[in-house]
Symmetry: C2
Subunit: 213 residues, 2 copies
């Protein structure tokens, strides 16, 4: 498939949302959908959707709409999802356990191999079917199994050093929940910093603007 242009960051940020909605449609048994129906479902406009999809060469046919299965395949390939990447989780405290118990890694194309923690009360236990291993076996594990991504759920102060060590041992992406902002520039691998507070503050701003009207 030919890319018509460099994909803008804003479009990239909408991609997972498209992928999620399309995979839900597939699960619901929908085989094709018009840009208008997809727009209504996602709270976007049909022209926005057509414009976004045009960035990737367009997937639709005039008068037919989008083939759900093909669209899901194409979006997944752009997202790099079919690669079957592996992940580990560092830090099985409250947040780490909430992720282990609740987050569906498989639905995002990841196999979560196991978690690591320093606390002997937690080591050896399983959460959501995932074993917690002792942190001092981490580097042996990395060298042997070469996981792609590390999920950081350890205390914030330990994050920068742990991130560097992980990258040195071949980790090629970080999903970072520690509150510490980590950057590609500093580490040489992509990072997604998750700050739930940013989302709540955005809501605050939206309410502020909405009630002023």
């Amino acid at each position: 498939m030919e890319r018509k242009q460099e994909i803008s960051k804003a479009v990239v940020q909408r991609l997972p949302r498209y992928y999620r909605n399309i995979s839900e449609l597939k699960a619901e048994g929908v085989q094709r959908i018009s840009s208008r129906a997809l727009a209504a479902r996602m709270g976007l406009t049909a022209s926005q959707i057509r414009q976004d999809f045009n960035c990737f060469g367009g997937f639709g046919q005039q008068g037919y709409g989008y083939n759900v299965e093909k669209l899901m395949e194409e979006l997944g390939s752009i997202l790099g999802l079919p690669a079957g990447r592996t992940a580990i989780l560092i830090g099985a405290g409250n947040l780490g356990r909430a992720l282990l118990n609740n987050f569906d890694f498989t639905a995002s194309g990841f196999v979560l191999l196991c978690a690591f923690d320093a606390n002997p009360d937690i080591v050896g236990r399983r959460f959501g079917g995932h074993e917690v291993r002792p942190i001092d076996t981490l580097y042996t594990f990395l060298d042997q199994y070469k996981p792609d991504v590390a999920v950081l759920a350890l205390p914030r102060r330990l994050a920068p050093e742990m991130a560097r060590d992980l990258v040195d041992h071949g980790i090629c992406g970080l999903w970072n929940f520690t509150g510490e902002d980590l950057h590609l520039e500093g580490l040489g691998v992509p990072v997604e910093n998750v700050h739930l507070s940013d989302s709540l503050m955005t809501l605050c701003h939206l309410i502020h603007m909405h009630t002023k009207k």
Copy 2:
């Protein structure tokens, strides 16, 4: 303060990140900071920061940089943070409890009043100091205490109806963790839909692009 122009969505999305970094600087005792130093800390460029802040009329002084306290105040006011908003949480399952136990609502300018759940085993317990009340007392509570925001951590299938009921009882914003996409257009109040999987898929895409280079 005069706004020079309508604030773009991209800038708005960076605002909480600015606010978070500035409040950390304040907590570290920093009184002023140059756009260059702030850029290095945040993994942005200095010109990006100056451009963003110019959207709000600019806060800096040539050769001095930014006054941290004043900047925090101004950003907080744009975000609508000083309003001292109140919140409730619906659904004290795994995810709800992770939020109650770990998330610092106060740091985002919110007072979390209490949580609600239907499960008698959970009702009456406290998580992170927050009481879980029976769901059948919710509407009485809403009418009496008029909280601003509801955090949705209940099962997804219950989300649309609950959202409508909450808005009917005066809730003016939703922080939605259920996985169901809710929209301002349908509900008449702002919604922040949190999809952690979107963040993981974005990481996937970034790794995909990074390793292709």
